[in-house]
C-alpha cells in the first residue's frame, strides 16, 4: 500500500478574471457533461485499491461554479475505487459568487472537510479592477455560510499588489478575515502574466502597477501581522493556525505521490512525473496513455531541495544524504554564509529558510543546489 494524493482539475468558471492565464474558461453545459464523464473514466482507469489516499484536492478554475452533482459523482467514484483514509483532507476551491447553501450541503455529504474561498480582497474597487464578480459583502457572507454548515477548516486566497491597493486596504482585508475566523490564508503576489487583459491595461497605462519593492514591503508587514495572530507561515505563500496547514499542499513540497485527473493536471508517482494535455478538446479524446518521465538521481536531489525549502519544515539533511548529496560538506561555505546572515537555520537536522527570507527563496535554492 502506498500513500497517494489526488488532484482533480475543474477548468470551468462563470467568468474569467482579468489577471488569469490558467487553463480555465466558460464552457456550455454539454461540454461540462462530457468532461465529467471523461474525468470519471480517468479515475476508473487509474484505480488501484493499493493506493492509500491521504488527501483529495478539487481545484480549478472554479469548482463551485458547476452543479454539485458532478462533484459528488467524482468523490463517490474515488471512494469506491481507492482506499481513502478516514482522516483524509478533502478540499474544494470555491468562489464567493457561486457558493450556495445547497452546494455546501452537498459538499458536506460528499465528505469534503476543507474549503478554499477565492476572496482575493475585501475592497470593492480592488475586486473590480481585477474583474472579480463578487463584492466584499458576498465574500464575508460566503465565509459565515460555510461556517454555518459546519466547515471550520477554511482557507481564503488574498492577492497582494492589486492596482489601487495600498497597505491600509490590504491590511484591513487581512484583519477582517482573521476576525471572520478563517483558519488558513494564502497570500499571493499578483503576477502580471503576458497577454492577460490586466497586463494589457497596465501596458496601455490604463491602470497603474504597484511597485515590486513596495509589494515586498507590504508582504513582509503582513507576515508580521499574521504571526501576531497565530498564523504561521508554513510555506512561501501560506499561513495557517496550528494544525490547519494544508496537507495536500505540503505533500507537493515533500515529494509525495499524487495523481492528477483532468485537463492539464500533473502526476508524480513512484519517481515518475507525467501530465495531461492542457487542451480540453484533446483531453476529451485522450486514451490515458501518459508520457512518463523518470527523474534522475540528480533531478530528485534538485527537486528535494527546491520543493522542501518552500516549507517551514525545510529539508532533512539525512534524507538528502541518502539520496546521495551531502549538502553540509558540499556547500559548507554557502551554508555558513547563509546562516550567518540569517537566511537559513539548521534545526532538528533540517535546513530551514528563515520566515522573513522566503521572498528570495530562489537565490537561496541556487546556492544549495549541487
Amino acid at each position: 500500500m502506498i500513500d497517494v494524493m489526488i488532484y482533480i482539475h475543474i477548468p470551468f468558471c462563470d467568468s474569467k478574471c482579468l489577471y488569469c492565464n490558467f487553463v480555465s474558461g466558460i464552457y456550455d453545459e454539454y461540454l461540462k457533461k462530457q468532461y465529467f464523464k471523461k474525468i470519471n473514466e480517468e479515475i476508473k482507469f487509474n484505480a488501484n485499491i493499493d493506493y492509500h489516499i491521504t488527501s483529495i484536492y478539487i481545484g480549478g478554475g472554479t469548482p463551485s461554479s458547476v452543479d454539485s452533482k458532478y462533484i459528488l459523482e467524482i468523490l463517490k467514484n474515488i471512494f469506491e475505487l481507492y482506499y481513502v483514509d478516514k482522516n483524509a483532507e478533502i478540499t474544494i476551491e470555491t468562489n464567493p459568487a457561486s457558493l450556495t447553501s445547497d452546494k455546501l450541503l452537498d459538499y458536506k455529504r460528499g465528505k469534503i472537510n476543507r474549503l478554499s474561498i477565492g476572496v482575493q480582497s475585501l475592497n470593492n474597487k480592488c475586486l473590480k479592477v481585477i474583474g472579480r464578480k463578487h463584492t466584499k459583502k458576498m465574500a464575508l457572507k460566503a465565509i459565515t455560510l460555510a461556517q454555518k454548515y459546519g466547515f471550520h477548516n477554511i482557507n481564503t486566497d488574498v492577492l497582494i499588489g492589486i492596482p489601487k491597493q495600498n497597505f491600509f486596504v490590504l491590511k484591513s482585508t487581512i484583519k477582517r478575515l482573521v476576525k471572520a475566523k478563517v483558519t488558513h490564508i494564502s497570500a499571493y503576489m499578483l503576477i502580471n502574466e503576458p497577454n492577460t487583459p490586466l497586463t494589457n491595461m497596465i501596458e496601455s497605462q490604463k491602470v497603474k502597477v504597484v511597485d515590486e519593492d513596495k509589494c515586498v514591503k507590504y508582504y513582509n508587514k503582513i507576515v508580521m501581522f499574521l504571526k501576531k495572530r497565530d498564523f504561521k507561515r508554513y510555506e512561501v505563500s501560506n499561513f495557517a493556525k496550528n494544525n490547519y496547514e494544508c496537507k495536500h499542499n505540503i505533500g507537493y513540497w515533500q515529494c509525495e505521490n499524487y495523481l492528477g485527473f483532468g485537463v492539464s493536471s500533473h502526476s508524480y508517482l513512484l519517481g515518475e512525473r507525467y501530465y495531461n494535455t492542457s487542451n480540453i478538446k484533446e483531453y476529451l479524446q485522450s486514451d490515458f496513455v501518459y508520457n512518463k518521465n523518470k527523474l534522475s538521481v540528480n533531478e530528485k536531489i534538485e527537486e528535494f531541495i527546491m520543493l522542501g525549502l518552500r516549507t517551514k519544515y525545510g529539508i532533512n539533511i539525512e534524507k538528502l544524504k541518502k539520496l546521495g548529496y551531502d549538502v553540509l560538506s558540499r556547500k559548507k561555505q554557502e551554508i555558513v554564509m547563509l546562516v550567518k546572515n540569517g537566511f537559513i537555520k539548521i534545526s532538528n537536522g533540517c535546513l530551514v529558510v528563515c520566515e522573513d527570507k522566503f521572498g528570495v527563496l530562489n537565490q537561496i535554492i541556487l546556492k544549495l543546489l549541487p
Binding site: H9, C215, S237, G260, S264, H266, R273, E302, M306
Partner: protein, 602 residues
C-alpha cells in the same frame, strides 16, 4: 651556383591597411598559375577565419610562384605582411627574409601613416622598394597626384611605377616584370655552412614545431643535423619543403630559398623567431643579426570563466604563441578571478585578436581585465621594478616616483579636424610638439603622449571625432615621470584586484565615479546589499550601492505542476555558471572589461 640564385626573387608587400595588399597577392598567385582557379578563394593567403572576416592580414604567409620572363623561369617567393600598426613587428620579420618590397599605395587615398612607417622599416632593412599604385579602377583615383606624393613624401622615384587594379587584374604583368627587373637576386654561398633565418613558425600536431626559414648560406635537407644558434639545441631534420602556398616537401633548400624545416621539435619555445639555424657539425661563424626582441606594450589579465579550464587556456596560449612570437604571457593569480595569465600584446587590436582567437578557435570562455601598460616604479629603497599589473603596485609610502611609457604620436588628418584632434590629444595628456602640412588636404599633428592614454579608446575617439578621416601612427620612445595613483575598487568592502587600475591623479576622481556608476548597472541585485567604492590609497572617492534583492520566488504551484518551476530554476542556474564569485558577491564575466568602456561612450 650563382645561376640558381640569379633566378630567385624574395619580396614582400607592404602597405597601409586596406590598400589592397592581399588582393594583389592573390592576383600574383593567380597570374603565375600557382594555385588553380578552381582552388582560388578570395585572399587565399589570409588563412585564418578571423583574417578573412575582418579583411585584415595578421599572420604572414609565404608563397612560392614561378614566372617566365624573357624565356627564363624565375622563382618568386612572396611573404605577405600585415598592415595594422600593432603588427609592425611581423612586418619587420618578413622584411628580414627579403631583398625587395612592393609598396602599395591606394590611388585615391595616397600615402598614409602606415605607408610611411612600413617604408621606413623597409629602407632600414636595405630593401629595394618598388612602389605600385593600386585601385586605379576607382572613380576617385588620381594616379598623377599619387606618384607625386610618393616622390615628395617618401622620396622614392615613382615616375614609371606600375598603376594597377588588383581587384580587376589590370597591369599585373607590369608588377611581375618589375619584380624581376628591379629587385636584386639573393646573394649567398651554397658551399658555406648553413645559415638560415627563422622568420615564423607554426605548430603541427603531427610534425611538431615547423620553422619558416630563409636560407642565406649553404643548404639543408632531410637527415641533416641542425643547430638553433640562440637556443643552442640540435635536431635532425625530418623534412624540408616550400610553400605552394600549401606546404610541399622538397629534397633540399638552397641558399636564397624560402621554405620550411621540420625536425620533430617538440618544445614550442625552441623555435625562436629571429634565431639562426646552422649545421650542428659545421656551424657558421656568425649568426644573422635577427631582429630586436619585440616588447609588448599593452598588458591584460586573461582568465577562464570556468576556473577548471586553466590548463586548456594555457595550452591554447602556448599554441597561439608558436604562431605569434609577439604574444607574451606568464601565470597570474587574482583573488577575484583565480588562476589565469598576464598577457602582453603589441597593441589593442592584437589583444582583441588574441582573445577572439581563444574564444573561436579554442572554444574557451574567457574573462579579460582592462588593459594596462608597464610602469617603471622607483622605490624609496633604491629598487626599480616594472609593474604591468596594477595590483602589484607597492604602497604609496614605498614609492619615490613612477615613470610611465611615452609615445611619439603622429595623427594624420584633414585640416578641418585639427581642432577636434588637438582637443582630444590635450584631454589625453598629450604634449603638442609640432604641426606640419603634408599637402593642402593633409596635416600631421605631432604629440608626446602617455601610452596609457592611447590604449583607452583613443583610436575610437579619434575616429568618431574626425568622421573616420584621421589615422595615426605611434612609437614608444621612452619613459617620463608622472603623478600616478592606483585606483582600487572595493566590492562589499573587499578590494577587487582585477578591477584596480593605475591612473593619473587628476583623472582618478572622474574615472572612479564613472566606474562605480557603471558597476552598479552591471552587477545584478543579490541577497545582500553590495556597496561599491572607488578608493585611492584607502580614501573613498566614489560610492554606489547595489541594493539587496527583494523578491525572487515562485509563488503558486498549480495542481502539482513542478516542471514550470524547474524550467525557471534551470535557467537561473545556467546564468549563475557565467558568474564569478568574489567573496559573497557574484560578478558577471563582462564586469572586468566593461570598466574600459567608460570614456566618452556613456
Amino acid at each position: 651556383m650563382t645561376e640558381k640564385l640569379k633566378n630567385i626573387r624574395n619580396f614582400c608587400i607592404i602597405a597601409h591597411i586596406d590598400h589592397g595588399k592581399s588582393t594583389l597577392a592573390d592576383r600574383l598567385i593567380e597570374k603565375t598559375g600557382t594555385v588553380s582557379t578552381r582552388d582560388m578563394s578570395d585572399q587565399i593567403l589570409d588563412s585564418m577565419e578571423l583574417e578573412r572576416e575582418r579583411g585584415i592580414t595578421i599572420k604572414l604567409t609565404p608563397t612560392r610562384m614561378f614566372y617566365n620572363y624573357n624565356g627564363e623561369e624565375y622563382i618568386l617567393n612572396l611573404i605577405d605582411t600585415p598592415g595594422h600598426v600593432d603588427f609592425t613587428y611581423e612586418v619587420s620579420r618578413s622584411l628580414a627574409a627579403c631583398e625587395g618590397a612592393i609598396l602599395i599605395v591606394d590611388a585615391s587615398q595616397g600615402v598614409e601613416a602606415q605607408t610611411i612607417a612600413n617604408t621606413y622599416l623597409a629602407v632600414d632593412n636595405n630593401l629595394e622598394i618598388l612602389p605600385v599604385i593600386n585601385k586605379i579602377d576607382l572613380p576617385s583615383a588620381d594616379v598623377v597626384k599619387c606618384r607625386k606624393e610618393i616622390e615628395d613624401v617618401l622620396g622614392i622615384y615613382a615616375e614609371d611605377c606600375p598603376a594597377i587594379s588588383a581587384k580587376d587584374g589590370i597591369n599585373i604583368d607590369d608588377v611581375l616584370n618589375q619584380i624581376i627587373e628591379r629587385i636584386p637576386a639573393p646573394k649567398g654561398e651554397e658551399n658555406a655552412p648553413l645559415k638560415a633565418l627563422i622568420f615564423d613558425s607554426l605548430y603541427d600536431n603531427f610534425k611538431g614545431a615547423i620553422c619558416f626559414v630563409r636560407v642565406f648560406d649553404g643548404f639543408v635537407k632531410a637527415g641533416d643535423k641542425i643547430k638553433m644558434m640562440k637556443v643552442g639545441k640540435t635536431y635532425e631534420v625530418t623534412e624540408v619543403g616550400v610553400f605552394t602556398p600549401k606546404m610541399k616537401p622538397t629534397d633540399t633548400l638552397y641558399c636564397g630559398d624560402v621554405g620550411y624545416i621540420c625536425a620533430s621539435i617538440k618544445n614550442l619555445s625552441d623555435t625562436k623567431v629571429g634565431d639562426t639555424i646552422t649545421n650542428a657539425d659545421n656551424p657558421t661563424a656568425e649568426p644573422l643579426p635577427g631582429y630586436k626582441d619585440v616588447q609588448p606594450v599593452v598588458f591584460s589579465g586573461i582568465f577562464p570563466v570556468d576556473g577548471a579550464k586553466y590548463q586548456e587556456l594555457k595550452d591554447a596560449l602556448e599554441k597561439l604563441k608558436l604562431n605569434d612570437a609577439s604574444l607574451k604571457f606568464s601565470p597570474e593569480t587574482s583573488i577575484a578571478l583565480g588562476f589565469g595569465f598576464r598577457c602582453g600584446f603589441l597593441g589593442l587590436l592584437h589583444m582583441e585578436i588574441i582573445t577572439e582567437r581563444l574564444e573561436r578557435e579554442f572554444n574557451l570562455d574567457i574573462i579579460t581585465t582592462a588593459p594596462s601598460v608597464s610602469y617603471n616604479v622607483y622605490k624609496t629603497n633604491g629598487e626599480v621594478i616594472e609593474v604591468s599589473n596594477p595590483s602589484m603596485l607597492p604602497p604609496p609610502a614605498e614609492i619615490e616616483r613612477i615613470e610611465e611609457p611615452m609615445i611619439k604620436l603622429d595623427v594624420y588628418t584633414p585640416p578641418n579636424y585639427v581642432g577636434a584632434v588637438m582637443e582630444l590629444c590635450q584631454d589625453k595628456r598629450g604634449e603638442f610638439i609640432d604641426m606640419q602640412y603634408i599637402e593642402k588636404t593633409r596635416v600631421v599633428l605631432k604629440y608626446h603622449m602617455p601610452l596609457a592614454e592611447m590604449i583607452y579608446d583613443f583610436f575610437d575617439s579619434l575616429k568618431s571625432r574626425t568622421k573616420g578621416y584621421a589615422s595615426l601612427d605611434y612609437d614608444v620612445y621612452g619613459f617620463a615621470p608622472s603623478e600616478l595613483v592606483r585606483l582600487d575598487i572595493l566590492l562589499n568592502g573587499e578590494p577587487c584586484d582585477a578591477l584596480s587600475m593605475i591612473i593619473h591623479k587628476d583623472k582618478a576622481y572622474g574615472r572612479g565615479r564613472q566606474i562605480a556608476e557603471k558597476l552598479k548597472k552591471i552587477i545584478p541585485r543579490q541577497l545582500f546589499e553590495i556597496p561599491i567604492q572607488a578608493c585611492i590609497g584607502g580614501k573613498v572617492i566614489a560610492r554606489e550601492t547595489v541594493s539587496a534583492m527583494r523578491k525572487d520566488v515562485l509563488a503558486k504551484c498549480y495542481g502539482g505542476d513542478i516542471s514550470r518551476k524547474r524550467k525557471l530554476l534551470e535557467k537561473q542556474k545556467a546564468g549563475k555558471k557565467r558568474m564569478r564569485q568574489f567573496g559573497s558577491v557574484e560578478l558577471p564575466a563582462e564586469t572586468f572589461i566593461s570598466i574600459l568602456k567608460t570614456d566618452d561612450n556613456d
